[in-house]
């Protein structure tokens, strides 16, 4: 019954498999609310099974009563008056049914409140890691804040978390209401302009967990996906340390040329690459673009071909999104892709 222990036992076995996934394109992750990967989703899963089993019994009983009512032998001819004895019997059944209903509902209520309390207790962990998530039309900005502002790591559409440690997400929106939801890790929470909401998640096994914006937010609501990559703590720390660094300097001639193209283009109107003069905050931070699994908020695998396609025709891939079409002559375009592809 306790999914948490079950899963924490099976998690080590799952590691090699997730390793394989991580090395692949990374799009096939887990995303099922009843396949919990953390204690929050686990608590909700247990609550669900209770609700389901009791409800199924109730449903079967009511349907049986309905079928019996239709098929039993009837002999009462009078439309208006029922013999007192029969009335009492049926009244007893009805009252009993109502009584059982009340009882079940109170059980549901208490079970719900206890599950809620359990989740709240996990959420209160002072050791938690805090990550800031900002919803934007139609992508997610992720910030690992640091007391030293220059050590703040900013990325997009991909949250890395350490396995086994609670994570507090600080949720804000830069435009309309969005909702953060990764089913394997727990319930959702809205990102509302003017409010700072919080949500705690925790992964008890390594893996890639997918989610998606759950509150309608305009044209590309359908393509506002997010992935959570749960890694062993040391792997996570290494990743975070790398993310804090400014962008890798271009090495090859193509990459150097690519950076020139980038900095001369209108890309810099929206994007920033830390360590260069591109510092705009409108679009996703590209400092470590090549290290991400996906492009365009989880829509495309991050390959050179897809990146090129995305730059040339973003409106064909995500109609209505904020990135305009660009045309580059081939002699600029290939170096640009070289450079962006080198930003690990």
């Amino acid at each position: 019954m306790d999914f948490r222990t079950l899963l924490s036992r099976t998690a080590p076995a799952a590691l090699p498999a997730t390793g394989l996934l991580l090395s692949g394109c990374g799009l096939r992750g887990s995303h099922h609310a009843l396949d919990p990967a953390g204690p929050q989703a686990g608590a909700i899963g247990s609550l669900w099974w209770l609700l389901l089993v009791v409800s199924a019994v109730v449903f079967v009983v009511v349907m049986t009563a309905l079928v019996l009512a239709l098929t039993r032998y009837h002999e009462t001819p009078d439309r208006e008056n029922l013999p007192a004895q029969a009335h009492r019997t049926v009244m007893g059944w009805v009252a009993g049914g109502v009584g059982v209903t009340v009882l079940i509902l109170f059980v549901f209520l208490v079970a719900t409140l206890l599950a809620e309390r359990r989740i709240a207790a996990i959420d209160a962990d002072p050791e938690a890691l805090e990550i800031s998530v900002i919803g934007r039309q139609w992508w997610w900005e992720i910030q690992y804040e640091n007391a030293a502002p220059w050590l703040t790591a900013t990325t997009a559409n991909e949250i890395h978390i350490p396995v086994g440690r609670p994570v507090h997400l600080k949720l804000n929106s830069a435009d309309v209401i969005h909702s953060f939801w990764v089913p394997s890790l727990g319930g959702k929470r809205d990102l509302i302009p003017g409010h700072t909401n919080r949500l705690s998640i925790q992964a008890d096994r390594a893996g890639v967990f997918e989610g998606q914006c759950a509150e309608f937010c305009g044209h590309q609501h359908a393509h506002m996906r997010i992935i959570v990559v749960a890694q062993p703590p040391e792997e996570f720390e290494a990743w975070l340390e790398q993310q804090r660094q400014p962008a890798r300097e271009p090495q090859t001639e193509g990459e150097i040329r690519g950076r020139e193209v980038f900095l001369a283009s209108d890309c810099i109107m929206c994007h920033s690459i830390r360590g260069t003069t591109a510092m705009s905050q409108v679009g996703p931070d590209l400092t470590h673009l090549a290290g991400r699994r996906t492009l365009a908020a989880g829509v495309l695998p991050n390959t050179r071909g897809h990146l090129g396609g995305w730059i040339l025709d973003p409106q064909g891939i995500k109609p209505g999104n904020r990135m305009p079409r660009h045309t580059f002559p081939a002699e600029q375009f290939h170096p640009l892709l070289d450079y962006l592809g080198s930003l690990e």
């Binding site: 669900w48 449903f59 009511v62 439309r79 009335h87 209401i177 003017g194 759950a214 509150e215 937010c217």
Partner: protein, 648 residues
């Protein structure tokens, strides 16, 4: 200062057959109560049977249109990354699907049945405010047409029927799309509000003598509770959409956090209406179910007071649930849990009703005809939807499935299962009364089973899609999500469902022309509407009946007591007291009139004009005021002259 004494003394029971009263004649009644002919008659009629039928037909057409939109969505979603609809179109379509089904179909059709049936069921000649009724219909019709015109012109609202701010605000929805939403919703709901006031006053003051509170048919009770809910719920959405108008038109800051506003204010105001709305749709359906169950088990409703208790309880608790649409917004969890508790407790009255219906069938002799089949389908689907509803009340579980296809599945089970199935049962049940002909039974069975199977195939898989992470309101999804097979299955189910509905349309068209003649009371039903002819005459009853028990349809005979002494050459009806329906005075209804229609047009000018210019307010207001004055002006004049003419 009211002459209470002489009033009651004036009621003199007269012995003898009704023929003793020679003054009443079919001919005079018919002349007085018939609407004028032709287009002018269509625009001016105040007859509740005509307007009620019109509400039902119009709302059903909107149901078909909303269904077509749903079919387009299912077509788009049947395959991953389908290019059939652009996100821009899809967003308009899903918004209009919601707006249509909630505002243009469900509420108006329930009110339409109420408008048609309630005067007949309480034994009077018309609704309390016949001209207001006509006004209500035209506001509804004009509002619906304007919304669909916008959709066809590619300027249909596209921020969802719930229109959350700031997405629906001026910054993120520039252009006129959401102006249409804000203006037309505000305008349309006028219709629901006037309908509710009419129904309340009719039920309170125009019941046949002897129809005390505890003899009112359950359908009348249901519509009474619904109307009260409308009166308290609709103003909330009206005010919210008025704020939205101001926000978009005048630059106010109700929802702008940068200037002290809050987007959550919209959600509170919207759902304070939005949740009761669900019960506004569902409660009339339970009234239909009660009528059908009683008639087809030939047994009085088991636990009549318990069922009414359930209706009243649902009506109240329905106002204490709205926050459960906002569990994910980060409100304090203790505060939310009060709403979670209420969301679960509302299952008690629903349970009481289900048990009483089953008990009625149990103690009666059920006859399995098409209306009862629809009710059985209803019980199946509604119990299922009700149980998922209880689950959704559980806050943590809600946070997983909120705004996913699980919720889509849930509310279609309670809205289609809980309201559309009873409604179809109601169509089969009252069609003979409205047209004088029976609907075809065999086609009806096909209709039922195709709808029932199609419905389950469409919506049951959506529960699982929700668990798999599929959010609502997405125009497409990636193939890698693995949602395609279940979506394809759902789309196939939708096709079956659509064929079922099509069979119904065919059945209605065929039966209206060639159906078997019905007679006054083909089902052996118990309520007053079945004691008059099918279809009823314009004046409903030759003599207003005097009711002596709860089941006049079963107990009344040709010699049963009636009301005599009402003028049959004027629109005169009897007004009775609220609790015990004791005759109080006679009142004369105003005649047919064009002004309600013109007033509706004038009010439409205000709201439609506001989409484009604020000057619409003064211009439209002067126009509307003029129409209103003309509407109320001639009434006394005509009445007065009428009095003089009446004098011998």
């Amino acid at each position: 200062m009211n002459p209470e004494g002489p009033r009651s003394a004036a009621v003199l029971p007269t012995a003898g057959p009704r023929a003793a009263d020679a003054r009443a004649s079919h001919h005079d009644l018919d002349r007085v109560w018939s609407p004028p002919e032709g287009l002018y008659g269509w625009l001016t009629t105040t007859s509740h049977t005509q307007i009620g039928r019109r509400f039902i037909v119009t709302a059903f057409i909107f149901f078909l249109l909303g269904g077509i939109l749903a079919a387009l969505m299912r077509l788009q979603l049947s395959h991953a990354e389908s290019g059939f609809l652009s996100p821009d179109r899809y967003n308009q379509i899903f918004t209009m699907h919601g707006v249509t089904m909630m505002f243009l179909f469900a509420v108006p059709i329930m009110e339409g049945f109420g408008i048609y049936l309630i005067p007949l069921m309480v034994g009077t000649r018309n609704l309390a405010f016949p001209r207001l009724n006509s006004f209500g219909y035209f506001t509804y019709l004009i509002g619906g047409i304007l919304l669909y015109a916008a959709l066809l012109l590619d300027i249909g609202p596209d921020a969802g029927w719930f229109a959350y701010l700031p997405l629906a605000g001026p910054e993120f929805s520039p252009g006129h799309r959401m102006d249409f939403y804000a203006e037309i919703i505000t305008f349309l709901e006028i219709s629901a509000l006037v309908g509710a006031v009419e129904i309340i006053v009719t039920v309170f003051k125009l019941r046949a003598p002897g129809m005390t509170l505890n003899r009112m048919p359950l359908f009348v009770w249901a519509l009474l509770v619904t109307s009260f809910m409308i009166v308290f719920a609709m103003p909330s959405v009206e005010m919210a959409s008025a704020y939205l108008i101001l926000e978009r038109l005048a630059g106010t800051h109700f929802f702008d956090p940068a200037a002290g506003g809050d987007p959550m204010l919209w959600q509170h105001a919207f759902w304070f209406f939005g949740h009761p709305e669900v019960y506004i749709i569902f409660i009339p359906a339970t009234g239909m179910v009660a009528s059908i169950v009683v008639t087809f088990s030939q047994r009085q409703m088991f636990g009549y007071p318990a069922v009414i208790l359930a209706l009243i309880t649902t009506g109240f608790v329905g106002f204490g649930l709205w926050v459960h649409h906002m569990f994910a917004t980060g409100l304090p969890s203790l505060g939310m849990s009060f709403f979670a508790a209420a969301s679960m407790m509302i299952a008690i009255p629903s349970g009481i009703q289900v048990f009483c219906w089953i008990a009625t069938l149990w103690t009666g002799r059920p006859r399995l005809r098409v209306p009862l089949w629809f009710v059985l389908g209803f019980v199946f689907l509604f119990v299922m939807g009700g149980l998922t509803g209880v689950m959704l009340g559980a806050v943590p579980f809600n946070l997983q499935v909120h705004d996913t296809y699980f919720v889509v599945a849930h509310f279609h089970y309670v809205l289609i299962g809980g309201a559309v199935f009873p409604l179809f049962g109601g169509f089969y049940y009252w069609f003979p009364k409205m047209t004088g002909r029976m609907l075809n039974e065999r086609l009806g069975l096909w209709n039922f089973w195709l709808m029932f199977i199609g419905f389950n195939v469409t919506f049951f898989p959506m529960h699982e899609l929700g668990f798999r992470g599929m959010p609502r309101r997405v125009y497409t999804y990636l193939e890698s999500t693995g949602w395609e097979p279940l979506n394809l299955l759902a789309s196939c189910g939708a096709a079956v469902l659509a064929v079922g509905v099509l069979l119904f349309v065919i059945n209605v068209l065929w039966s209206r022309a060639r159906g078997q003649a019905a007679g006054d009371n083909p089902w052996g039903a118990d309520t007053l509407e079945w004691t008059t002819t099918s279809p009823p005459p314009n004046y409903n009853f030759h003599f207003q009946p005097v009711v002596t028990d709860r089941y006049p349809g079963w107990t009344r005979g040709p010699d049963s007591p009636v009301v005599v002494g009402l003028k049959d050459d004027a629109h005169e009806v009897l007004v009775t007291t609220t609790l015990d329906a004791v005759p109080d005075h006679r009142t004369t209804f105003p005649p047919h009139s064009i002004w309600p229609f013109l007033t509706a047009v004038a009010v439409a000018v205000i709201f439609f004009g506001l989409i484009f210019t604020p000057w619409a307010i003064p211009a439209g207001a002067v126009l509307a005021m003029a129409m209103l004055i003309l509407w109320f002006w001639p009434k006394h004049h005509v009445l007065h002259r009428g009095h003089e003419e009446d004098a011998p």
